[in-house]
């Protein structure tokens, strides 16, 4: 009997290990829906304001010139920190099935536009809030033919939620490198036509600080609801 117990000890250890590992994976999948950064090479960098007018961009194997951004010419962002005190009733709805964004204030439709959601990686479903917006940043990621390097990404509105960490860098933003809206194209973010992104950027909360054209990190902003399944 003693021999029997000794021979089965490694087996019990193995079974126990498998159970513990499986339990760990199950718990982590329940609590963290997304652990992959939206822009794998610039996850932290893309969260910060930056303008790089002298750099070239790379997308789908093409070297392209990003539109220059001149902050001195930005005079029309109407809402800055401290100007708006009323409780916001704004929300954004993104339907991945139809690749459409709608923005509402109460029941009133403010705008509607085609978007491009994640193709290489899915755009997450759920309820989120905009935690920061910045006038421009740099995004990069991918490998091989999928490598991309995009300075001067305009009108970036980062969102996060209970199952989507702010540090993962998912956002709505303007897009100068493709014009294929209505079809998935991105690495997880919500691509918008730049003119639509500008209109939304100037409308959503949180408000911006006037000197840096960005909001303070961590402020609670406009709610975003993302639903459906990308084609």
């Amino acid at each position: 009997m003693a021999k029997y117990r000794k021979n089965n000890f490694p087996y019990l250890i193995t079974v126990l290990s498998v159970v513990l590992i499986s339990l760990g994976i199950f718990i982590s999948k329940r609590n963290v829906s997304y652990s992959k950064c939206a822009n794998t090479l610039s996850c932290e960098e893309s969260l910060n304001f930056s303008i790089n007018n002298d750099e070239t961009a790379v997308f789908n194997g093409e070297i392209i010139k990003p539109p220059e951004i001149d902050l001195a010419q930005i005079i029309d962002e109407p809402k800055v920190l401290g100007e708006e005190t009323a409780v916001s009733d704004k929300r954004i709805e993104v339907d991945l099935t139809t690749q459409t964004l709608k923005a509402y204030e109460g029941e009133k439709l403010y705008m509607e536009s085609k978007i491009s959601s994640g193709k290489m990686f899915p755009t997450p479903n759920g309820e989120f809030t905009i935690w920061r917006k910045i006038r421009a940043t740099k995004m990069s990621g991918g490998t091989g033919n999928g490598y991309y390097y995009l300075p001067n990404v305009p009108y970036v509105m980062f969102f996060s939620g209970s199952k989507l960490s702010a540090g993962l860098g998912f956002s709505l933003h303007g897009t100068y490198w493709h014009d294929n809206f209505g079809h998935p194209m991105s690495h997880g973010c919500v691509n918008m036509k730049t003119r639509d992104a500008k209109k939304l950027f100037e409308w959503v909360d949180p408000p911006m600080t006037p000197e840096q054209k960005q909001s303070e990190p961590g402020e609670t902003g406009t709610k975003i609801i993302i639903y459906g399944k990308a084609p």
């Binding site: 789908n60 093409e62 536009s113 085609k114 490198w177 079809h183 036509k193």
Partner: protein, 184 residues
């Protein structure tokens, strides 16, 4: 703007509806299509039908130069008129592509927005003809937009009706690149 197709200021809430309408051949006198960055405007003017043909003229204006330049014109039968696809502008606004039907096929025409030739001696490029000649085993089912500054996104089926691959039409080399993933 969406409902009538007449030239008016862009309405915020009807922007999407307007874009969708541009897939339909124009029935009104004039319509504007704004580029994704808002800096360029394509204006399409339709004249009165004469001898069974309808004249269409295409103009480009920009933030920097608001006086429109004519980049293209064509007389077509009413059933073959040119329409403007939703994602017509290249991301850098240097090109547009247009769509028309001919002999039961959808044809796609690329133009420069500055009115110049695509290449020396080549004013426009019609790429459905190039594609079907090169790849007769596939048929173009949709052209959705631009994958980058000179790459047009094409979806195809096989000639026996099965779902085919997506392709880039590379405007810089006038060649087609077969893709491993499909753009739906």
């Amino acid at each position: 703007m969406a409902a009538s197709g007449l030239k008016k200021d862009v309405s915020v809430t009807t922007d999407l509806a307007y874009d969708a309408k541009t897939e339909i051949p124009f029935k009104e006198e004039e319509a504007d299509i704004i580029s994704p960055d808002g800096k360029y405007t394509l204006t399409v003017k339709k004249g009165m039908e004469l001898n069974g043909l309808v004249p269409q003229s295409f103009y480009i204006s920009s933030e920097k130069d608001s006086s429109p330049i004519k980049i293209f014109e064509k007389n077509s039968k009413p059933e073959n008129m040119i329409s403007v696809p939703e994602n017509t502008f290249s991301p850098d606004n240097k090109y547009i592509f247009l769509k028309y039907d001919e002999q039961g096929k959808s044809r796609y025409l690329v133009l420069r927005t500055n009115g110049e030739e695509i290449r020396n001696g080549v004013p426009t490029v019609e790429f459905e003809g190039l594609f079907s000649e090169k790849y007769p085993e596939f048929v173009i089912t949709d052209v959705t937009g631009w994958g980058s500054y000179s790459l047009i996104v094409i979806n195809t089926d096989t000639i026996d009706g099965k779902t085919g691959p997506s392709w880039w039409f590379d405007l810089s080399s006038l060649t087609f690149i077969r893709l491993s993933s499909r753009f739906n």
